[in-house]
């Protein structure tokens, strides 16, 4: 069980043994991409179902229960329905910006998976600046949302995308700073090394404040309640997504769930020991931890009302940012004291 995925990869690589090296690299890259895409699609399909079920149970409802056993096929039916929807491009829209925005938002959502260690030896690309790469790529999501909101030529969409820029740009800062603490402990930006450094103790125990900051900032990064101001249904209909229909709309939602999984996966990698765990295969451990994180994200979303935009920004600049800076300071001092105690020198 442990080596099932690495085994498949090795077997496929063996098939390509005769090919020139550049062909091998490209083929394996494509294979990883297919694997990641399958992971994203399956997760997104399941998460839509899971979200509806979890919210239902929190609200004394049953949730989807008609299609398939326990309603499991509901999201498949929804996806099929969306495929059949008319593709509407508003007359006043900036056509090309409007059309490519959903595609552009999906690209970083997939790209960030490159550095996620799904299990022991299961990392698509083991970049030495992995975490930095993740943050850099993820931050481009804002551009796509802004494109969608601007291109739609709708006032609600414009308001939503302006919110998204204000929100995501400011929450990226505490997000990055909270991760810095972990990087200082692990001494590396490489995700495989960060996981390896957590073999004995998970970083959530050493960096509880950083984890909390990361969790809050990540919630804001992926636009989930109580920070779902970008969509803000009650105020601005669906924000930048207001004018989108059919598969374009679905792509936005797909990338939203893909982002949810990726920030959860990064949280697991950075704070919850990655794929480390006894008895079960490493990739299963990873998946379990990711789903625990996702459950907490959903729990928060269905419990709290939405925060107001000025409170949101105030909270970021006045609370989270100083706190994350203080955390870096404390971590640095702590590391030095630890070195002094164990090694007897600075």
């Amino acid at each position: 069980m442990e080596n099932i995925f690495t085994g498949i990869a090795a077997y496929l690589e063996g098939l390509l043994a005769g090919a020139p090296p550049w062909a091998q690299t490209i083929s394996m890259g494509l294979l990883y991409l297919v694997g990641v895409l399958a992971f994203i699609f399956l997760n997104a399909l399941y998460l839509i179902y899971l979200e509806r079920k979890i919210s239902a149970y929190m609200q004394q409802r049953i949730g989807p229960n008609r299609l398939g056993p326990h309603g499991l096929l509901q999201s498949v039916a929804d996806a099929v329905k969306l495929l059949g929807k008319e593709d509407i491009i508003p007359r006043g829209a900036d056509k090309w910006v409007f059309i490519i925005a959903p595609v552009i938002i999906f690209i970083p959502a997939v790209m960030v998976y490159a550095i996620i260690p799904f299990g022991k030896g299961m990392i698509p690309v083991d970049l030495n600046i992995g975490v930095f790469y993740f943050l850099a790529v993820a931050s481009t999501t804002t551009i796509a949302i802004l494109m969608g909101g601007w291109g739609a030529n709708n006032k609600y969409a414009l308001l939503g995308s302006m919110r998204s820029v204000a929100q995501m740009v400011s929450y990226e800062i505490p997000l990055t700073f909270s991760i810095l603490g972990v990087i200082m402990l692990a001494g590396s930006l490489q995700t495989s090394r960060i996981v390896a450094a957590q073999e004995n103790v998970w970083f959530i125990l050493l960096q509880p404040v950083a984890f909390l900051i990361y969790f809050i900032a990540a919630t804001a990064e992926v636009n989930r309640g109580p920070f779902d101001l970008v969509e803000g249904e009650q105020e601005i209909i669906a924000g930048p997504y207001t004018e989108y229909t059919g598969m374009r709309y679905a792509l936005f939602y797909l990338s939203e769930y893909a982002n949810l999984v990726s920030v959860s996966a990064l949280a697991v990698t950075l704070f919850l020991g990655g794929w480390h765990g006894p008895w079960l295969p490493s990739w299963l451990w990873f998946l379990i931890k990711v789903y625990i994180m996702i459950f907490i994200f959903m729990w928060v979303r269905w419990t709290f009302p939405r925060i107001r935009i000025d409170h949101l920004l105030g909270f970021n600049w006045k609370v989270l940012l100083p706190l994350s800076l203080a955390n870096i300071l404390v971590t640095g001092v702590g590391i030095k004291i630890y070195q002094l105690l164990t090694l007897g020198r600075w």
């Binding site: 609200q59 308001l159 105020e235 709290f304 009302p305 939405r306 925060i307 409170h311």
Partner: protein
């Protein structure tokens, strides 16, 4: 050195919010002037639900008007019924049997409870507190079940008649009512737990949409919205109609007049309504539920104005009779309409999110605004 471009400037935008919008509570439309997210000016635009009820009433017999009143504030049908039939009774001088009076009180207060529950639930929902929507609506369902038991309808009840009520309560009614009243405190506790005490909720509602007592009175705001400003004015106490003078209850007031107080006052009033219902059930006499009234209602020539404490404020009916079997003129003073008039004043200066909170907190029903 930063270069300051004098030719760059910001511009206010106009945003049509509604008539199709998730949180305008019906077909209300607001023309907002926005400076970024800040609401500079609000203009009410109504009339999308105008059905001409007042005019229609002129071509219906007095009894046939009753179903139209259900469609005013469709969240509290019983109260509208009560207001109308009492107006006609006042004009004709009809004495209503004791049992009918008590049943009317029970139904009216249940209606008020249902209306307040919708307000509490939808205000939570407008703040995206999805989960807090459910406890009030779960309990409201039981009220509607009670209505259905009694008169067959859930929302548009048409239960009251000129001279009494349409039907006596069925055997299972009182136990079901008792069970509902026993579960009510738990529902209120659930709501308080989920949303009233929530940090984000308080941050978004406290001080938002503040209106002081003088301004509120100047705009003619009545009902819970006025009591949230600190004036203990309630027609049930101030000018008791029906048999309200026989019951003991308090008029809860709060002092800030902001959205938060307008929300909390509804929860407090629910408790008082439950108190009234309990007393009415305890004192419920036996007897007929309809007075002896002529088959064809023909009030004497004259005019009458009668007002009751509706769920949203003072609900008044002005009726002119020319001695025929149809009203010569019916005018309805609807609290939602009056309260909505103050919205531009209340909402100016906040941002869009505050605006949504303000609409929810003054609790409008478009059926009543447009009539």
């Amino acid at each position: 050195m930063a270069v300051i471009r004098e030719d760059l400037q910001t511009q206010e935008i106009e945003l049509n919010m509604g008539p199709q919008h998730p949180s305008t509570h019906g077909v209300y439309r607001a023309l907002l002037t926005l400076d970024g997210e800040k609401v500079v000016k609000v203009e009410n635009i109504i009339g999308y639900l105008h059905r001409g009820i007042e005019k229609l009433a002129e071509d219906r017999t007095y009894t046939q008007v009753i179903p139209y009143t259900d469609r005013l504030d469709y969240l509290a049908g019983m109260l509208n019924n009560l207001g109308y039939v009492q107006t006609v009774e006042k004009l004709m001088g009809i004495e209503v049997p004791e049992r009918a009076e008590y049943l009317r009180i029970i139904m009216a207060e249940l209606s008020r409870l249902a209306s307040h529950m919708v307000m509490v639930a939808s205000m939570a929902l407008d703040l995206s507190g999805w989960t807090a929507w459910f406890p009030p609506f779960r309990e409201r369902e039981r009220i509607l079940d009670l209505f259905e038991m009694t008169c067959g309808s859930r929302l548009t009840v048409s239960y009251m008649r000129i001279g009494g009520v349409a039907a006596d309560i069925p055997p299972g009614f009182l136990p079901a009512l008792e069970a509902f009243l026993n579960d009510l405190p738990q529902m209120i506790a659930e709501v308080n737990h989920l949303i009233t005490g929530n940090e984000i909720f308080q941050a978004r509602c406290r001080g938002v949409g503040k209106i002081d007592l003088e301004t509120a009175l100047a705009y003619g705001i009545t009902g819970p919205n006025l009591r949230a400003c600190g004036l203990p004015f309630d027609l049930r106490k101030a000018r008791p109609y029906g048999i309200y003078d026989r019951f003991e209850f308090d008029i809860p007031t709060l002092n800030n007049g902001d959205s938060y107080d307008r929300f909390v006052i509804r929860l407090l009033e629910m408790e008082q309504s439950a108190r009234i219902i309990r007393q009415a059930v305890a004192g419920l006499p036996e007897g007929p539920v309809m007075a002896k009234v002529p088959r064809v209602i023909k009030p004497p020539r004259g005019e009458v104005y009668h007002q009751i404490e509706g769920a949203k404020g003072i609900l008044g009916f002005y009726l002119v009779s020319d001695g025929s079997n149809k009203p010569y003129r019916l005018h309805i003073h609807s609290p939602s309409f009056v309260n909505l008039g103050a919205l531009p004043k209340i909402a100016a200066g906040g941002n869009i999110q505050d605006f949504v909170v303000n609409i929810a907190s003054i609790d409008i029903v478009l059926g009543e605004v447009d009539r």
